[in-house]
Subunit: 130 residues, 2 copies
């Protein structure tokens, strides 16, 4: 694998990826509008453009330049990215123990019974895997 530099998008990048993940491939304007709607204080159009250009260099997004108005698509999956960010936090603040993280998260999370059941099911799967 020549994929060393690990996917660890910054805050602003994450916000943009969020739009691309939920809305699919988008133009700068579409991303800009989506963020303006979702956020309190909006950011300039050229800021989004610049970020998307940088993200293209970093291979976080793919750019289709065939039309005059470029179209951007996420080049990293949501699950993979979340996994990277999670294991990053585990290393930095939980002494490498994802279990410690899970326990901490569970002890403060408000979850519905249905959600707790979902976790329980996952635990069952993991209990007898092989």
């Amino acid at each position: 694998m020549a994929n060393r530099p690990a996917i660890r998008p910054t805050n602003a990048e994450l916000a943009i990826l969020g739009v691309l993940w939920s809305n699919g491939a988008s133009t700068v304007r579409e991303v800009h509008d989506a963020l303006k709607e979702a956020r309190d204080e909006a950011v300039g159009y050229t800021t989004i453009l610049k970020l998307l250009q940088i993200m293209t260099e970093k291979k976080l997004v793919k750019r289709d330049t065939r039309a005059r108005t470029h179209v951007y698509a996420a080049a990293v999956s949501e699950a993979t990215t979340r996994g990277h960010l999670l294991s990053d936090l585990v290393d930095r603040a939980f002494g490498g123990s994802s279990l410690a993280l899970v326990l901490q998260a569970l002890s403060s999370a408000r979850a519905t019974p249905a959600e707790l059941e979902q976790i329980r099911r996952l635990l069952d799967e993991r209990k007898a895997p092989r």
Copy 2:
């Protein structure tokens, strides 16, 4: 509560807090030595000093200046800090759903049966709380 600015230590700060949490109140030299031992590439003595000074301003640590050699102690608890970092990540990358974070963490974590049992117990507690 006048504690608005939320505890969100940076990387270097977290490393130092880790030492203070596990070793208790320490001098700059002690922190420096502990980090030198634990890490691959060490950082300069005055770097640790400067960081601790900044962390004192930020109220992340408390400083005892009675002796010539100052003694620093963590001013934030490990659990609280972890909680802040976690909810920060939940907001930034998991759409505000701690459950999504837990599921993601569980699906990639390698945990022993005993640990899984621990989670199960926690789930039971939360199931019928009131």
